[in-house]
Structures are given as C-alpha cells and as structure tokens.
C-alpha cells in the first residue's frame, strides 16, 4: 500500500515537474509567464490525430512506430514554441512582463479556438501504446506498466536535460541567462539564440507532457493541459522563479502532496483536496517568499 502511494506520487509529480521545467526555462530567459504552455501541450496531443470534426479520431502522426513518433512529436512541440517566439514574443521583447503574460494568454486562446474549429468540441479517444495498459508486480505493489513508463520517462528526461544544461554550450548559456540575463548578454551570450533555444526546449517538454498524458488517459480534449499548466506555474514560483532544479523539486512535491492528500483526507474532505493543496502553497510562500530555491534574479536589486 505505502509503496503503491510512492509510485502514485512519483508519477503525478513527474508530470508536474516536466511541465514546471518548461515554464521555468522561458521565465528564466525572458521573464515571461507563458500562459500558452497549456495549449502547447494540447496542440501536441492533437498533432497525433488527423484534423477532422468527426466523433471518431483517426490517428495521424500517432500511427507511427514509437521510434519515429516520439521525435516527431517533440519536434512538433519545439517548432510550435519557436514559431510562437518568433511571431509573438520577439516583437514584444521589451514590453513589460504583464503585457508579455497577456500576450501569451491571447496566444493560448488563439490556439485553443483553432483546435476547436479544426477538431470540434467533443473529446476524442487516442489509442497510444495500448500494450502499456497492464499491471506488473513490483515488490509488494502491483503497478500499472503505464505508471512505470511515466516515472521512467521523467527520470530519463530529467537526467538528459541536466546533462545538456551542464555539458553543452547552449546549456551553459541558458543557465547563465536564467541566473542573470543582462549579465549573460554582456558576457557574450547571444540573446536570440538562447531565447529560441529555451522556447524549443520548452515546447519539446510540453510535447513530452502531451505524450505522457495521452498514454495515461487515452483521450484528447481541447481543454487539456490547462490544469497541469496552473500547477506547473505554482511549482515554478515555489521553486524560486527561474531556478530549474527548484521547479523540478517543487513540481515533484506538489504531485506528491496532491497524491498524499487524496490518500489520507477523510472522504468528506476529499472533494476539497485542491483547496488544501493551494492553501499549503500560500503558506509556503508566506514563509519563503523567494521560493524554495531562489535564483539570484528573483531578488529585488537596489
């Protein structure tokens, strides 16, 4: 039972962590709170099926074998985010963070309504990797294979990303930009390259969340991604805005707390689970206003 809860917490927290990382990357380089991230996720989900308003979905990209499908969807997510940066956020680079945020929100509405017009309002079913839909025994717990897959995928992605950020030049530049963008530029980091890179990475991470979600739930809905995005924002702030390890840690923590609340709250209180979760968030912020892992750029300067 307790081992099972650990797996539940890890699989939910893993999804939040990846989403939070996608948001933190962009916030780090251009102080943009990207409200379109949820729609990047939804668009990546719908990219799996052919555009049609019919009730029954026909797989498009989703019919490819996993070896081709995964890179194709990651590229799709990355491409979408890079295009969004080029057409919407680049012209706004010197606007206030509020204007940027509202622009991202407008972009989100745009994408959502485009999906609605192209695919219709009815949720659709996607059968992605049905072989994952069986339980396996692991120690004292019986874990759905799906859950193991989610946890494994999250682990691999986080490790890969950590390597990339630590070992490659673009990774170094991104970390530098996230710490202090102004200083990084002075030291020769090219803004366009880093920002495009951050968007591409963020879009690819949105596509990862999309794949995990589809594998987990088997459905596509124009509103999906929204709830995850909200939790991911909160995780980004709790982690200390711009701190990448912080975002991951806070995302994992939020998923774990949510799973624990669901497991241990009395039945009458369970519908109020999210109220408890968000109440805890406010408390944490009151005690650590700069987040759990504050980055240098989050502190006000005199």
């Amino acid at each position: 039972m307790s081992l099972q809860i650990l797996f539940d917490a890890l699989s939910l927290g893993g999804i939040y962590a990846i989403a939070a990382l996608g948001i933190a990357l962009i916030f780090g380089v251009m102080k943009l709170v990207n409200f379109a991230h949820g729609q990047f996720i939804a668009c990546s989900v719908f990219a799996l099926i052919l555009p049609s308003a019919d009730a029954v979905a026909v797989l498009g990209l989703g019919a490819l074998p996993a070896g081709l499908l995964i890179p194709a969807i990651l590229l799709f997510g990355a491409g979408l985010a890079v295009l969004a940066e080029a057409f919407v956020f680049r012209p706004l680079r010197n606007a206030s963070p509020v204007a940027l945020m509202v622009a991202s929100f407008a972009l989100g509405i745009l994408l959502q309504n485009l999906l609605l017009v192209t695919y219709g309002g009815r949720p659709k079913a996607i059968s992605l990797w049905p072989e994952l839909g069986q339980p396996v025994r692991l120690l004292s717990a019986e874990i759905p294979l799906l859950q193991l897959f989610v946890i494994g995928a999250v682990g691999v992605i986080l490790a890969g990303l950590a390597l990339m950020l630590k070992r490659t030049r673009i990774g170094l530049e991104m970390r530098a930009a996230a710490e202090d963008f102004g200083m990084a530029r002075l030291l020769g980091v090219r803004a366009n390259r880093v920002i495009s890179g951050a968007f591409a990475l963020s879009g690819a991470l949105a596509a990862v969340v999309a794949l995990v979600l589809v594998a987990q739930t088997g459905v596509a809905d124009v509103r999906m991604g929204g709830q995850i995005m909200l939790v991911a924002f909160i995780a980004t702030v709790m982690g200390g805005m711009g701190s990448l390890p912080g975002a991951v840690a806070a995302g994992l923590a939020l998923g774990a707390v949510s799973a624990l609340l669901q497991a241990f709250l009395p039945p009458e209180a369970r519908p109020f689970r999210d109220a408890f979760l968000y109440g805890l968030v406010i408390l944490v912020l009151l005690f650590r206003p700069q987040g759990l892992f504050a980055s240098a750029s989050a502190k006000p300067r005199v």
């Binding site: 509202v102 909200l230 924002f233 519908p271 109440g279 968030v281 406010i282 206003p289």
Partner: protein, 354 residues
C-alpha cells in the same frame, strides 16, 4: 467659485478632476446610443459592458496603482454574486436549494440595493483577511499567491454544496440589471477609483510601484497602502459579481473562474494598465470589438450578397487583435494617459499659462 489655479500643480489637479466626469459622460453616451439606436440584444450588450466596467475599474484600483497583477479578483466577484443570491432569493427557494445556509441568511429576503452593498462589503472583508497575508509578498510571488487563492475559493465553492449549491447553479436571481443600473455602479466605481488615486494613499502606492526602495526610504508603508487598495478594489469586484448574477439570473462557480479572470486582465492591459481611462477604454474597446465580430459571424448583408464569418472565428480574431495591439502598443491603447480636459479649458482663461 474657487480661485483661479495658478501653479502648474493646481492646473494639473484640476485637469485630473475632469477625468472621472469625462469617463462618466462617455459611458452615458454609450448607454444612450445603445438603448436608443439598438434593439434589446444591444441593450443587454450595453449592460454587460458596464458590469465589466465596474469589475475592471475595481480591478484597476489595485492592479493599476500597485503594479501587482492579481489573479484573485474573480473570487471576489464570486463571493459578491453568491452573497447577493443568499440575501435576495425567496426563503422557500433557499430551504430547497441551499439547505445548509445559517438561519439568518436562510430567512433573509432583502431588496437588491442593500444586497449589492452587502456583496461588496463581504468581498472587501474577504480581501482584508486574505490580503493581510498575501500582500506581504512582493511581485510575482504575490501574483501566484492570489492565483492559489482563486483556485482555493473555486474548489470550495464548487464543493460546499449545502451553502453554495456546489456545481449546481443557483437560480431565481431577480434580473434587475438594466443598462442604467449598471451605469450607476460603473460611474460609482470610476468616482471611487479617481478619489482613491488622488488620495494620499493612492499617491503613496503609485510611488512604491515606480520605485519600491525609494518609496520605502521615504517612509511609505507599502503594505498598508496595498491592503487598502486591495480592499476597496474587492468591494467593486464584489458588486460587479452581484450585478453579473442578477444580469444573467443563474450563477455557477465556473462563471467566476479563469475565463473571467483573464477577460478582466485582457481588457485592462489592452486599454493600458497605467491609467483609469485605460481601464474604461479597454473594456469598451474589447466589448465593442467582440460585438462587432459576433454580428459579422451572424452575417451582414451588403447589397445583394450576405457576408458571414465562419462560426468560432470571433474568438480567434479577437485573440489576434490582442496580440497585435500589444505588439504595436505594449503599454495599451491609452499607454498610461488619462482622458482629461486640456489645460486652457480648466484654467478658464482661454489660454494656457504654461
């Protein structure tokens, strides 16, 4: 008669005083045009727009003066709408739909105006309590805390079934909100916002928005001024929520959640968050643009051909327009300026002395 203003500062103050008057006249002209020239649907559009003016001006009192973006104001509208429902619904209806209401509320059968005031006051009280904690935070942390606050209120409202009806809508609200009622409250919100902005507290708050450290060094207690603005702001959002409820007749926690939050934010930023006039103009511009696109979608007959946009294109076009406005005018349509009479008019001499 007051003496002729002489110093630039006096002239400026007098010019600022004309802003709320001009905005009120603008709204009056809008209502007159809509009710005299349009059909019933146009009148409803006018009422809806003015309710939004009340909400967005209320929102501006905090967000505009403090520079802190709040995502929590839809929660105050939610509380306001439900307070008015609790106070004005038929007691028999309440025992049926909301059996968990305490005795006093279950028996209450108030007229609509005191109920709207109570809605505002209760929202203000909630703001005072929640703000006391949240506003200790700065910048983005405060914004996200208000977000968490909104999500909390929404979860509670959607599940506290005996008192709020949960996800089930509360029905039977008297639909008394005509364009004129909405105009009254919108003008009240504008006057309050102008008075607050011109008050010592409003000035202090804007000073701390411009430069936090310098303001603190000048002895400004930012927290206290923010809390005051937050409370006043929540009052009008509470009233706006009550008006929304009595405009549609049916309320549901879902109508006071993310879409309302973003609508308010979008209108404010489109008009320009830096000025009261920006808030009002933003609401008018977005509402009119949406209405125009909706009509285009229904089809417009030009000569012998009917031209119609495909269904669903209104949302797409409005989102595109928002992005374009932000790209070309990042500070909003008014870019922080106020609508006011020119200096030579307020000095009464025919020419400006500056």
């Amino acid at each position: 008669m007051s003496p002729q203003p002489t110093t630039p500062h006096q002239i400026r103050r007098r010019m600022a005083a004309t802003t709320p008057v001009l905005l009120a006249l603008l709204l009056l002209a809008f209502v007159l045009a809509a009710t005299l020239l349009g059909d019933r649907a146009t009148a409803r559009m006018a009422a809806e727009t003015l309710i939004r003016v009340t909400l967005v001006v209320g929102f501006w009192i905090f967000a505009g003066n403090s520079g802190v973006i709040s995502f929590g104001h839809a929660a105050f509208a939610c509380l306001g709408a439900y307070t008015s429902a609790w106070l004005t619904l038929q007691p028999a209806m309440k025992t049926l739909l909301l059996p968990g209401l305490p005795g006093f509320l279950a028996q209450a059968h108030w007229p609509v105006l005191p109920a709207a005031l109570a809605a505002g006051l209760l929202a203000a009280a909630l703001a005072l309590i929640s703000g006391a904690a949240i506003l200790r935070l700065s910048g983005i942390a405060a914004s996200i805390a208000t977000f968490a606050f909104l999500a909390m209120v929404n979860t509670i409202w959607a599940n506290w079934t005996p008192v709020t009806g949960g996800t089930s809508s509360v029905v039977g609200l008297a639909r008394y909100v005509s364009p004129w009622v909405a105009l009254g409250w919108a003008v009240a919100a504008i006057l309050a916002a102008a008075l607050h902005a011109a008050s010592a507290s409003g000035l202090a708050l804007r000073a701390s928005r411009e430069d936090e450290v310098a303001a603190a060094a000048s002895g400004i207690d930012r927290y206290r001024h923010r809390l005051l603005a937050y409370t006043v702001s929540a009052f009008f959002c509470g009233v706006g929520g009550a008006l929304m409820g009595h405009f549609i007749g049916v309320i549901n926690p879902d109508s006071f959640y993310l879409s309302l939050t973003f609508l308010m934010l979008a209108m404010l930023v489109m008009g320009g968050i830096g000025s009261l006039s920006g808030a009002v103009v933003g609401v008018l511009a977005v509402s009119l643009a949406v209405e125009a696109l909706v009509r285009l979608e229904k089809g417009v007959t030009l000569g012998t051909t009917t031209f119609a946009l495909p269904p669903g294109s209104q949302e797409i076009l409005i989102a595109l327009a928002m992005i374009l406005v932000l790209v070309f005018r990042p500070a909003g349509l008014l870019a922080g300026r106020e609508i006011m009479l020119p200096a030579r008019w307020v000095t009464g001499r025919g020419t400006s002395n500056q």
